[in-house]
């Protein structure tokens, strides 16, 4: 079983819809969970991170972690064409100096 699994998409949704992006993982030692956004021909940039379980909200974005199910989600409300990008989940084990493990990314298209 891979450490982190993420559906590559592409996922196409109409503008204004709620988007749900997800990752599953196998290692229960992961404690920090991140979402990176990567626009075409650019490097990834950190969107949000969460420590341990629970929700975190930042504007239209909500990150959710369910450690019991080893499942993390990113919700985008009122999606905009400018949200079209690849979204990569990422996680680290207990020690924050540990190596970051990335998902393969989900390509998202918001249709105007």
């Amino acid at each position: 079983q891979k450490e982190v699994e993420q559906d590559p998409g592409p996922l196409s949704v109409p503008e204004g819809a709620i988007v749900s992006l997800n990752c599953t993982y196998s290692n229960s030692a992961f404690q920090y969970f991140m979402w990176y956004r990567q626009y075409s021909r650019k490097g990834p940039e950190l969107l949000m991170y969460t420590y341990s379980s629970g929700n975190k909200e930042d504007g239209r974005f909500t990150a959710q972690v369910d450690k019991s199910s080893k499942y993390i989600s990113l919700f985008i409300r009122d999606s905009q064409p400018s949200d079209s990008a690849t979204y990569l989940c990422a996680m680290i084990r207990m020690n924050r100096d540990d190596k970051i493990i990335f998902g393969k990314g989900t390509r998202l298209h918001i249709l105007p």
Binding site: A90, R96, D97
Partner: protein, 113 residues
């Protein structure tokens, strides 16, 4: 505005050539990383460095070497380029103790013919 810059956006090289990819960060970060990104395979860590002159192998170091002579600069070297090294190469940096917040450069698209 904090920045990670990479020496080239696009590079075309021939099989067997020695290739240098340079990365510079202006954030005084201790840690620097080199990844390659391929469709269907995602980001894979090649090498990282947590201090000047220090280096650690990542998941796919074969065929690559690195150099970190100054804190702000981390170079990736392909000793003898091969076609299977055609890829997008991404450099990243972080503060010590903050591996979760990686700052990435814009990437170098390398094609080996």
């Amino acid at each position: 505005d904090v920045k990670v810059t990479q020496s080239s956006r696009y590079l075309v090289k021939r099989t067997g050539e020695k290739v240098f990819l340079e990365c510079v960060q202006d954030m005084d970060h201790e840690n620097m990383f080199w990844y390659r990104q391929d469709p269907g395979l995602g980001l894979r860590l090649i090498y990282f460095s947590y201090d000047v002159k220090m280096k650690e192998k990542g998941d796919i170091p074969e065929g690559y070497s690195v150099s970190r002579e100054k804190k702000e600069r981390f170079s990736l070297i392909l000793e003898s380029a091969s076609t299977n090294q055609t890829s997008m190469y991404l450099c990243a940096s972080t503060k010590r103790g903050e591996y979760n917040e990686q700052f990435f450069g814009p990437g170098t698209r390398l094609t080996v013919l």
